[in-house]
Symmetry: D2
Subunit: 418 residues, 4 copies
């Protein structure tokens, strides 16, 4: 059997030492990418430029990260604010598609990987980098997303995935860090790893890895109140949608990025959008994650109900197929696959009428739509009322039933019984 | 325009006065069907046999109902206990199909209509009834379900739908009742109407009809605690599944009907499964309902997560299409359409491995799966762990990515940009 | 049972005598609609305006038809040329959607009904007609299409369906015609009825109604050569597509209507597009039809192959679901259902790249694509060639296989065997 | 960039020299696998057992092949007749699923790879082989199929793919053959390569690789008459189906393998089932193939029409989604993925009623169903006839239309226009 510890390069897009001079590193400031910053310089004998992209992660101090990168020998360190770009071009689609992978995952990480790749390819060009390095392991989705997106957007670019390649474990990394003067947090560390952006925070590792064990939410959660500590009184908010996109919160206009941030804040107070899922990675593994996405839960719940009331039964049925396909494609590193463009046009066309006001009750982990108004509502009080004098012609019903039931009746009486 | 008040018969399956001698009435004991019991005798000059079926509705005293029917002139009054039949033959499929119409409706009424029709057709034969009468209006789904199922199971049977036909409003019904000595409850009535069975309770009418208004849950709910009054402490329960079917609760064996009843009781205490939906009726209208289905929510949540962990990514993706189709078919009065049989075989085949134990946390309206065990789990700790020495061969990743991304990369670079 | 011969009006959209003054009749000049022209005047005591729409039917002399209408008492008789409108707005979508209902029906009649309804509603407004009458029976799809589309486009309009209503059989119609001086063709009539437009000709009736009998094609076919009499030499044609739409035939530019007409002519010579199908009507019946659509077959075959070569595997797979849904919707009188608009945007987005040149061999009933060229072809010779030195990196294959197969392998070895 | 010529092993399932003693080679007797037989002995210093499986390929003389293998040093050479197993367990499903990948490919090779893998794993166990070697290139689907299926059925088995590994071109192979006394056919070779079994014959290579060129069918075809040389007189055959499976040809009972062989013979005379497709390989490439599958075309055409007449509109619509999914899964090396098992149960359940007799006209490349009989036909003459006195109640139509059209009408009039 092949020995995992000695990494072998086989893919055409993997960078080869000596073939390039400058590498762009996707830099978070954490231990892994800090060790990489040094390791790549040593191992590949090249310059490294560090790129840190702001897509709304709350835990990072980007100026400090920049400073740290320069200290560790980065030729340059770039901070890029992509918050509005992320919200307007990607998260708007997630809302319109009621983003839901396998029963509740709002796709925060998969969507973040698209915008990060796009920015990275742009910056790589500007700074003449021939190679982009990322901090992902060899077992996850993110290596697939970064390498696929980067080489799709620019097939001339090569990539480096040091974690896959270097064969260091936790202790070896710490030793390497000490040896190279890389600062290490001395706090007793929890066993979890996170990925965070404005659309959600994902925790993995520790006991989360064992589906038979309860996840220790009070240790894991970084954004959210434990639901038991959420307020004992419900809060009602109003979200205004225009063509599927949230434009106002409680009657005040905001950018989409602002509305998401505000919903994250309100929602996390009420413990909304805490979510556990054993998901199917596209590399064939199952993994359990604990998600925090209060804003996503609030906005998608609201959107879905508004969309339903302005859509027909046929629309609602086929939209669920389209949304499911969309979510599977986005999860699977396929943002630039042409199918996604077609799905987007479908989704946008249906969302042209998704305008109106949604009232949501937030209480103890739940975000429940309690009232809906839309000029395009297909709920017709004159037809639906139980009162006697109305627009609905009951005389048509029996005839409808006779014809509607014809094939079922015929088939049941003609076909062989089991 | 056609005048609604003068009903005209056009469908072949509508009973015609003089052509039959005995009618079976689906009898609930309420005002509507009590008035019908008299009205059919008068209007059609025929004998009426009253049939009351127990499918787990909690509010009915069936012996009293039987007595009332006899008092009102029923030739005979039959009580039929279908609780186990309902649970074992229909609700078991709902659990395996993760029953969900349009975002959370567990299909209690549509499923109840199947078993009621089946029993009614059987009883009609036994008692030589040539006609079956039901109490549904001309605007709803249930007329379609009853008339479709009854004439499918026995095309020789005819039907009567008095509410569609008689043109009486509320006041006229009460006057008719008084005139014929039909007892009327003197309590000030709430404006809601309900349909109930062991799988759920549906409330409609009153302010529920206006989607822009909040539903007054404390007036509407019949089964459930208002979530604000639910216990402040979480409760954990364990459900054991065998081939997709719940067989044990907290390690004790029960029949499915018993497990559902117990989950209804525990769940309603915690306010679980209170659900509002503006759904698309199959007759073209939208209507808002308030649903109470604590047991259904608990069991479907549990089943869905267990099913996911023993299924592959492909299975999980296509199952969501199958389940959506199943729910639309069941809602749409198509239980005997052959497609449902095929969907059922698909669903059963996938459920052969849905065995294991699910731990669920019940708290303030939420039923969250917190732990899962199954001999068929595809979660493989040796593969998924973040630790260094494991079974997963990271060397394969880059090659996978290169080939996996080939068409996306090619398409992106060959095709015209928008 | 209800007696069919005494028709009862129940639907709100059915016109009632005395409530209107002027009716627009969809007039073909044949016996049925000629009898109607008289019958409506008599029965409804109203004026009748005759409308004949040219959508490429080859058998009609529209000027003679106009004259006949006036002779039979029409207040006015209108000829409307909708050929280009039909081709550009409707048939273009049929090509892009590879129109195929249940295995080969190109949807000529269902598409024709849309444009006819649209024109009729426009003319009804212009001529102050409150009612539109059509010549369809009570058992077919076309009554559903006309009445649905007309009342959708203008809910104030009412409809008359004389054939459904009048209870006349063939002999009674002929008697009525003789009595009212309506000319009757004296030729011994074949038992078939037809519906024709530029997209196809449909024959029904006679022995076609019995699926166990061979259809007598030499009696039935009106457009096509019997395949046995088709030329013994193949003919090759070239069709140029731009964004999914045929724009040139053998390197000469034409309008779409012209290309269709030319393909009908060339194709019918070779017996192409003769097609038999037992289709499912939307009113629950099965019916067998014999179709002649040489142009549709040629253009759809060509389009489908071109679309495939410029699309990815994912696109090709999901497009087949979208196309199937589209065909079922169009067949089912749902052109204005919003889902169709969304499907159309999807289909148009994918077709943005369906440009190129297709060579087709026509021979003895078959239209086979034999060569394809497109600037957007995803066929990449450097990758696909069997030669040794090429762009494809074979080293990636084994790694791809290992990861690609992971869930199948795991599932097979973990799950219970049947 | 990685150098293709020096192959690097990365996958866990690739055999490593020294770790095993005996290899089972899938042996066809051709140049490639004959060279392999020697090369594996030399390169891996191991024993080789040759396995040749008969799944109905017409061109092989298996006894001669066996002899050749022994001559070249095989430790043992095994001939295995899998014809009935192949037909009964795999091709029966292909018929029931109307096997069609991307518009006409009946999946002969993908299905053949399943049975070959299954037999190979069984034989490997019997003969204590730790490794299985196959003759596929590194660019095709078949390496994925063999390695996936083999390691799924027995994860302990390793594989060797010499063509991927050895880096020899055509000339080097011939030189190697000469050096090792491997007989080489001296005939001027055509540039095509083939894969053949009883379900079809696939040709690739030469000018077929260029989609802009017409394929030279008279050079390529091995089974079929050129359509121009097919008989000038049509031939009619009758096929009897029982539960979806052909059981009789022209009223005589045969095994399925016999019926397929006979249909291949009759069909190839008429040039039926010659098919060109630019298909999407699962490794991301497009490739053009020329297929000959006369029997598959006849049997699938017949099955599809029979299935349609015994199925409802709903069944026919969803079956097309199921069949499309099935074909994509089988093509994609997923036979043992559990989804396929579920799809099979669906397909089998629908096929329980696909019994009856189908008459097919064979003429000049076309196999057209011209008559159908089934006890389960849903074609109901009494309902469908155009005659006046029949079972269909036309009075129900208008009521049906009013309710059926409600959402379309409402949506069209409420929603914003584009």
């Amino acid at each position: 059997m092949t020995n995992n510890t000695s990494y072998v390069k086989v893919a055409s897009h993997e960078a080869v030492k000596g073939n390039f001079k400058r590498c762009l590193l996707l830099y978070s400031g954490g231990l892994d990418t800090s060790v990489m910053l040094k390791w790549i310089q040593e191992e590949y004998d090249c310059e490294v430029i560090a790129l840190s992209i702001d897509i709304g992660q709350t835990s990072d101090n980007l100026q400090k990260i920049k400073q740290k990168a320069l200290t560790l020998g980065a030729k340059d360190a770039i901070i890029y604010d992509a918050k509005d770009e992320f919200a307007n071009n990607y998260l708007s689609m997630a809302i319109k598609a009621n983003a839901d992978y396998q029963g509740g995952y709002a796709l925060s990480t998969p969507l973040g990987r698209v915008i990060i790749s796009e920015v990275a390819v742009k910056i790589a060009k500007k700074y003449n980098c021939e190679v982009i390095a990322h901090g992902c392991t060899g077992k996850g989705n993110d290596q697939v997303r970064f390498e696929s997106y980067i080489t799709t957007l620019n097939p001339a670019l090569k990539t480096i995935a040091p974690v896959r390649e270097w064969g260091m474990g936790r202790q070896e990394e710490i030793a390497y860090a000490k040896k190279h003067g890389i600062p290490i947090k001395q706090t007793a560390e929890l066993p979890y790893s996170y990925d965070e952006n404005m659309w959600g925070n994902t925790g993995e590792g520790g006991e989360i890895e064992n589906p038979a064990k309860k996840a220790k939410l009070k240790d894991i959660l970084q954004w959210e109140n434990i639901v038991e500590k959420a307020p004992d009184t419900a809060e009602y908010i109003k979200i205004t949608f225009n063509k599927g996109i949230p434009t106002e919160l409680n009657d005040k206009k905001y950018t989409l990025a602002q509305i998401i941030a505000k919903c994250n804040k309100i929602g996390s107070k009420h413990g909304i959008g805490v979510f556990q899922l054993i998901e199917d990675r596209l590399v064939g593994l199952k993994v359990r994650g604990v998600y925090e996405h209060p804003g996503a839960t609030i906005l998608i719940n609201a959107h879905k109900k508004l969309e339903q009331i302005v859509s027909t039964r046929e629309e609602n049925q086929f939209k669920s197929i389209v949304d499911t396909k969309w979510a599977y494609m986005i999860y699977a590193a396929q943002w630039y696959e042409p199918t996604v463009s077609h799905l987007n046009t479908y989704i946008n066309d249906q969302n042209n009428k998704v305008s109106g006001i949604v009232t949501i009750k937030l209480y103890k982990g739940q975000a429940i739509v309690v009232a809906l108004e839309s000029p395009y509502s297909l709920f017709n009080h004159d037809l639906a009322t139980f009162e006697k004098n109305d627009a609905y012609n009951q005389n048509s019903a029996a005839g409808f039933i006779e014809i509607y039931n014809m094939q079922q009746q015929l088939a049941y009486n003609v076909l062989p019984k089991k």
